[in-house]
C-alpha cells in the first residue's frame, strides 16, 4: 500500500507532462491544419447566397424526372444491378483470398532456421494483398476499367467486383479464424482428407457468415455504385453530376430523394436478412 502511494507522486508528474505534450501536439496540429487551408471567404459568401435557391429546389423535386425514360428510377435500377453483380463477383473471388489470409488455415514456417517461433507466412502475404486491394479507391479502379471497356455500367461492375474483394476477403478470413476447430480435428481424426475437412467441417460453419458479410458489403456497394457514375461508370451518378453542374436543383432533389429512399430500404432489408443468418 505504502509503495503504491510513493509511486503515485512521480506518476502524477509523468501524467501531467504527458497531457501537456498531447495538448502541444494537438495545438500544433490544428494550427498547421487551419492556417494551411486556402479559404476564399469572399467566394463562399457569394455562393452562400444561392443556398435558399438550392434548398427550395431540393425540397421541390422534379417529379416527372423520376419516372421518365432514362430518368432517376431507370438509373437507380442500373445502380442496384451494378452493386448486385459486383458484390457477387467479389463474394466468389474473395473465397480463396479469405482462406489464404486466415492464419489458422496456413502452415506455420519457422522465422529463422533453428528458432522455435513459427510464423504463418502465407496468411501474412494474403492479408497484405487484401489490404492493398482495399486501399485502392474504387473510383480509380473504375477509371482503369473504363479505359478498357468504355464508360459503361459494366466498368462499374468490374470495379466494384475487384475492389470489394479487399473487405469481403478480410471479413471471410476473420470468420475462418474465429470458427470452432473441433469439427476439423474430428474429421482429421477419422482419416478425412484436407478436402473433406474443408467441405464437412469448415464450409458449414462459415457459410452463413460469408453470406452475411457479402450482404453487408452489398449495402455499402449500393452507396458506392451510386457515385460511380460521377466518373462515367454507369448508374445514378451521371445524371446527378449533370444536375449538379447545371445547378438544376429540382433534379438534384429528385435524385437525392430516390437515392436516400432506396439506400434506406436496402439497408433495412439486408439488415433483417443478416439478423436471421447469423
Amino acid at each position: 500500500m505504502s509503495q503504491t502511494q510513493q509511486a503515485a507522486a512521480p506518476k502524477k508528474m509523468g501524467r501531467m507532462i504527458k497531457t501537456a505534450l498531447w495538448l502541444i501536439f494537438f495545438a500544433a496540429l490544428y494550427i498547421w491544419s487551419f492556417t494551411g487551408l486556402e479559404v476564399e471567404w469572399k467566394k463562399i459568401m457569394e455562393s452562400l447566397k444561392i443556398v435558399n435557391k438550392m434548398l427550395a429546389g431540393i425540397f421541390t423535386p422534379e417529379w416527372g424526372f423520376i419516372w421518365e425514360d432514362e430518368g432517376v428510377l431507370d438509373n437507380m435500377l442500373v445502380t442496384l444491378e451494378i452493386a448486385l453483380l459486383g458484390t457477387t463477383i467479389a463474394a466468389i473471388l474473395a473465397v480463396p483470398f479469405g482462406f489464404l489470409a486466415a492464419n489458422n488455415m496456413s502452415k506455420r514456417y519457422p522465422i529463422l532456421p533453428f528458432v522455435e517461433a513459427r510464423f504463418p507466412v502465407i496468411s501474412w502475404i494474403g492479408k497484405r494483398i487484401l489490404n492493398v486491394i482495399r486501399t485502392m479507391p474504387e473510383l480509380i479502379v473504375a477509371i482503369i476499367f473504363i479505359v478498357g471497356v468504355g464508360p459503361t455500367a459494366f466498368a462499374g461492375v468490374l470495379a466494384i467486383g475487384l475492389h470489394s474483394i479487399g473487405l469481403i476477403g478480410k471479413l471471410y478470413s476473420e470468420a475462418i479464424e474465429n470458427m470452432d476447430e473441433g469439427p476439423m480435428e474430428a474429421i482429421t481424426a477419422c482419416g478425412g482428407s484436407r478436402l473433406q475437412v474443408l467441405w464437412f467441417a469448415v464450409v458449414p460453419q462459415v457459410l452463413p457468415e460469408f453470406f452475411s458479410f457479402a450482404l453487408y458489403k452489398f449495402e455499402i456497394n449500393v452507396r458506392a455504385a451510386s457515385i460511380l457514375g460521377m466518373v462515367g461508370a454507369g448508374g445514378i451518378g451521371t445524371p446527378l453530376l449533370f444536375a449538379l453542374k447545371g445547378h438544376d436543383w429540382h433534379r438534384v432533389g429528385a435524385i437525392l430523394l430516390v437515392v436516400i429512399i432506396v439506400v434506406f430500404l436496402i439497408d433495412m432489408l439486408s439488415g433483417a436478412i443478416r439478423k436471421r443468418l447469423v
Binding site: G36, L37, V51, E81, F154, M230, L241
Partner: protein, 261 residues
C-alpha cells in the same frame, strides 16, 4: 435463438428452390441491365494492360508537386474529423436510450442519423462543391457530415453498453442531467469515443483522397488532372503516395485504438 439453432431440421427444399430461382432471375436481369459483355473486357484488356504497364516506373520527381495537395487532403481530414466529432457529441447522447429514456427523443435522433448516413460521401462532396465552389472548404463540409454519421452511430451503440451502476447511483443522489452526463456517462464512454474518432479519421483520409475528383480539394484534383492528360507515370506516383499515407495512418491509428479499447 440458441434453442432454434440447436434443433436439427432439414431445410425445406421448396424454399431453397424459390430463393434460387429468384436470384437466378435477378442475375439474368442485372446482367442484361448493365449490358455486361465479357467480349468487351477481353477486347479492351490490351488498353488496361498498357495503362498499367504505362504507370511503371512512377515519376518520382512529381512527388514534390503532389506533396502540397496531399497535405491539403490531410488537413481536410483532420479538420473535418474534428468538426464531425464535436457535432456528434450531442447527437450521440440524444440517441442513447440509457441517457434519454424518452423514446421519442432517441427515435427522432436515430432517424435523423439514419438519414444522414444514407447519403454517399462523394454525393455530399458534389453538393457542397456546387454550393461552396471548387476548393477544400467543400471537402471539409462534406467530410464533416460524413464523419459525423460514422462517429455518432458507433458512439451511441457503445454508450448504450456502458455499466448502468454509475448511472443509477447518479440518479439516486439526485444529480441533474448535466451532472449525470459529466460524471457517469463521459468517463465510461470516452475511451471508446476517442477510438471511434480515430477510426472515422482513417476512413476520412481514404475518402478525402478521392474528393478532388469532384472538385472538393486535396490530392484527388491532381489525380483527375493526370488521368485526363494520360500521364500515367505521374498517376502512379499519386496512387503509391496515397497508399503509403493511408497504410501509415491506418497502422498508427489502429495501434492507438487497440490501446484504448
Amino acid at each position: 435463438m440458441a434453442a432454434e439453432t440447436k434443433q436439427i431440421k432439414t431445410p425445406s427444399k421448396l424454399r431453397f428452390t424459390i430463393i434460387f430461382l429468384v436470384m437466378a432471375v435477378l442475375y439474368v436481369f442485372s446482367w442484361r441491365g448493365v449490358e455486361a459483355d465479357i467480349g468487351s473486357l477481353i477486347e479492351g484488356w490490351p488498353y488496361i494492360r498498357d495503362l498499367i504497364t504505362g504507370m511503371w516506373p512512377p515519376n518520382w520527381k512529381y512527388f514534390e508537386r503532389i506533396l502540397d495537395p496531399m497535405l491539403e487532403t490531410l488537413r481536410i481530414a483532420i479538420i473535418a474529423t474534428t468538426f464531425g466529432a464535436i457535432l456528434s457529441i450531442p447527437f450521440t447522447l440524444l440517441a442513447s436510450r440509457n441517457v434519454f429514456p424518452n423514446t421519442w427523443v432517441t427515435n427522432s435522433a436515430r432517424s435523423f442519423l439514419n438519414f444522414v448516413r444514407t447519403i454517399p460521401d462523394l454525393l455530399l462532396a458534389g453538393i457542397f462543391v456546387a454550393l461552396l465552389g471548387i476548393g477544400p472548404v467543400a471537402g471539409v463540409a462534406a467530410m464533416t457530415v460524413f464523419t459525423f454519421g460514422i462517429i455518432t452511430k458507433l458512439a451511441y451503440e457503445s454508450v448504450e453498453t456502458i455499466d448502468p451502476g454509475p448511472l443509477e447511483s447518479m440518479t439516486a443522489v439526485g444529480a441533474n442531467k448535466w451532472q449525470f452526463i459529466a460524471f457517469a456517462v463521459v468517463p465510461q464512454a470516452l475511451p471508446a469515443f476517442v477510438a471511434y474518432v480515430l477510426y472515422a479519421f482513417e476512413i476520412c483520409v481514404r475518402a478525402a483522397a478521392i474528393l478532388g475528383l469532384v472538385g472538393a480539394g486535396g490530392i484527388g484534383i491532381m489525380l483527375s488532372e493526370t488521368l485526363e492528360t494520360f500521364q500515367y507515370q505521374k498517376m502512379a506516383t499519386i496512387v503509391l503516395f496515397t497508399l503509403v499515407i493511408v497504410i501509415v495512418i491506418d497502422s498508427i491509428s489502429s495501434r492507438i485504438r487497440e490501446k484504448l479499447l
